[in-house]
C-alpha cells in the first residue's frame, strides 16, 4: 500500500480542485437563493461521507466484538474520528448557509437536527475512548459503537416525525435537483470520499505506530525488570 499512497494523494488533490472549480463556477446559479446555494456542494457530501464512515465503525465494532483482532479496533477508532471531523464540517456549513437565507443561525430542520444528535453520539464515543484506561478501552468502545449505530435509525425517524408535526424551514428546499447540479454534487462527494480514504489511511498508520511504540515500551520495562 506504500506505493498506492502518493497516487491516492495526487488523485485526491486533482479531484478536490476540480470539484472546487465545478462547485464555485461550473455549476449553474440557483434561481431563488443565488450563489450562496453553492454551500450545498460542501454541506451535503460531508454528511454522506460521515454516515459512510460511521457505518464502517459499526462493522468494525461488531468485527472486534466477534474476533477481538486489534486491526478491527483501530479501523473503528479511525472511522469514528474522521467521521466526526466530516460531520463537524456539515454542522458548521449548515448554519452559515441558513444565516443569509433565513436570517437565523440554527433551524431545527430535521436533517440538521439528526446530524447534530449523531455528532453528539460519536463525540461521546470518542470521549469514552479517551477516558477508559488502555486495557479494555477497545471492548467498551466496540459496545458503544454498536449501540450508537443501532440508535441512528431511531434518531432519524423520531426527528423526521417530530418535524413533520411542527414544520420549520427546510435546508436546501428539497424538490427535484437540476441534473447539472446533481453532477457537481457527485463529483464533490467522490472528492470527499478520496479525502476521507486518505486521512483514514494516515490515521490508521499513525495508530499502528503508536501501539507499536507502546508495545516496545512495555517490553522494555519487561526486560528491565528481569535484568
Amino acid at each position: 500500500m506504500k506505493r498506492g499512497f502518493p497516487i491516492l494523494a495526487i488523485v485526491t488533490a486533482v479531484l478536490l480542485s476540480f470539484a472546487l472549480y465545478e462547485a464555485l463556477i461550473g455549476a449553474p446559479t440557483e434561481r431563488s437563493m443565488g450563489d450562496v446555494q453553492r454551500i450545498f456542494y460542501y454541506h451535503v457530501p460531508s454528511a454522506w461521507t460521515a454516515f459512510l464512515l460511521f457505518f464502517v465503525n459499526f462493522g468494525a465494532s461488531i468485527a472486534y466484538l466477534v474476533k477481538r483482532r486489534p486491526a478491527a479496533d483501530i479501523v473503528a477508532l479511525t472511522s469514528a474520528e474522521v467521521g466526526v471531523v466530516f460531520l463537524t464540517v456539515n454542522l458548521v456549513t449548515g448554519p452559515i448557509w441558513a444565516r443569509p437565507v433565513w436570517g437565523i443561525w440554527w433551524t431545527w430542520d430535521w436533517r440538521l437536527t439528526s446530524t447534530l444528535v449523531m455528532w453528539l453520539i460519536y463525540v461521546s464515543y470518542l470521549l469514552l475512548r479517551r477516558f477508559s484506561s488502555g486495557g479494555q478501552a477497545p471492548l467498551l468502545a466496540a459496545a458503544l459503537g454498536v449501540l450508537g449505530a443501532l440508535c441512528v435509525p431511531f434518531v432519524y425517524f423520531s426527528i423526521w416525525f417530530f418535524r413533520t408535526q411542527h414544520p420549520s424551514p427546510v435546508i436546501g428546499g428539497g424538490g427535484s435537483l437540476d441534473p447539472r447540479m446533481a453532477h457537481v454534487l457527485l463529483i464533490n462527494w467522490a472528492a470527499f470520499l478520496c479525502l476521507a480514504w486518505l486521512v483514514c489511511w494516515t490515521r490508521y498508520q499513525l495508530e499502528v505506530a503508536k501501539r507499536q511504540v507502546e508495545e516496545a515500551q512495555s517490553l522494555e520495562s519487561l526486560l528491565e525488570g528481569s535484568r
Binding site: 444528535v117 461521546s124 449501540l147 431511531f154
Partner: protein, 224 residues
C-alpha cells in the same frame, strides 16, 4: 439454577438492602422534590400554556432523578468488591444485569410516582387527551432510560471519571426515547394529536436496546 431464580434473588437482595439502609431512598426523594420545586420557580406558566411545555418539563425532571439512581447502581457491588464473587459463580451475567435494571426501574418509578402529584399541583395540569395513555408512556420511557443507564453505568465503572461518564454516554443515545416520551406526554396533555406514533417508537426502542444490552453485557462484565 434457573436464570429467573437468580434474577429474583438478586433483585430481592437489592430491594432488601435498599429498604434496610433507606438513606439512599431518602436522599433521592429529597433530590426529586428539589428538582420539582426549582423547575416550578424556573418556569411559571399559566394553566393554559403549562400544558404545552409540561411534557418536556416533567420528563427532564424525571431524567435528573433517573441519573441520580443510575449512578448508584453498582456502588454497593464496588464497595464490597462483590463483582468478582459474582463472576466466579456459574450464574449468567445477564441475570445480574436484569436484576439491576429492574431494581433501578422500580426505584425510578417510585420517584416519578412521588414527583407527579407535585407537578400536577404546581402546574394545575389536566389531560385533555386519553389520560390512561400516560401509564404506558411512563413505563416504556422509564425502561428506555433505565436499561441503557444500567448498561452505561457498568461501562463507566471501568473509566476514570465515573459520575461524569454516565450522563455523557446516556443522553445522546437516549434522544429518540426522550423525544418519544416528551411528545407523547404533550400529545396526551394537549389532546391535539394522538400519541400513537410515539408509543410505537418507544416500544421499538425498548425492544431493540434491551436485546442489544443483553447481548453485550457479558463482554462488559468480563472486561477485566
Amino acid at each position: 439454577m434457573s436464570f429467573l431464580a437468580v434474577v429474583r434473588a438478586t433483585l430481592a437482595k437489592d430491594l432488601r438492602l435498599e429498604w434496610r439502609s433507606k438513606d439512599a431512598i431518602n436522599a433521592m426523594l429529597f433530590f426529586s422534590l428539589l428538582v420539582v420545586v426549582i423547575f416550578s420557580f424556573a418556569f411559571e406558566p399559566t394553566a393554559e400554556e403549562s400544558r404545552k411545555i409540561a411534557g418536556g418539563l416533567v420528563w427532564v425532571a424525571f431524567l435528573f432523578a433517573a441519573i441520580v439512581v443510575l449512578n448508584q447502581t453498582w456502588a454497593r457491588e464496588l464497595r464490597n468488591h462483590v463483582l468478582d464473587a459474582y463472576r466466579m459463580s456459574p450464574a449468567s451475567a445477564n441475570s445480574l444485569f436484569l436484576a439491576k435494571a429492574f431494581g433501578n426501574f422500580i426505584f425510578v418509578i417510585v420517584l416519578e410516582a412521588l414527583m407527579t402529584p407535585l407537578f400536577i399541583a404546581f402546574y394545575r395540569l389536566g389531560a385533555i387527551g386519553p389520560a390512561w395513555e400516560l401509564l404506558p408512556i411512563a413505563t416504556l420511557g422509564t425502561w428506555a432510560l433505565v436499561v441503557n443507564g444500567t448498561f452505561f453505568a457498568a461501562i463507566s465503572l471501568r473509566t476514570r471519571s465515573r459520575e461524569v461518564m454516565l450522563p455523557l454516554l446516556l443522553f445522546p443515545i437516549s434522544v429518540p426515547a426522550l423525544l418519544g416520551m416528551v411528545n407523547a406526554t404533550t400529545a396526551v396533555l394537549t389532546g391535539e394529536e394522538s400519541a400513537r406514533f410515539w408509543i410505537t417508537l418507544l416500544v421499538a426502542y425498548d425492544v431493540v436496546f434491551t436485546i442489544a444490552c443483553l447481548l453485550l453485557f457479558e463482554t462488559i462484565l468480563e472486561a477485566e
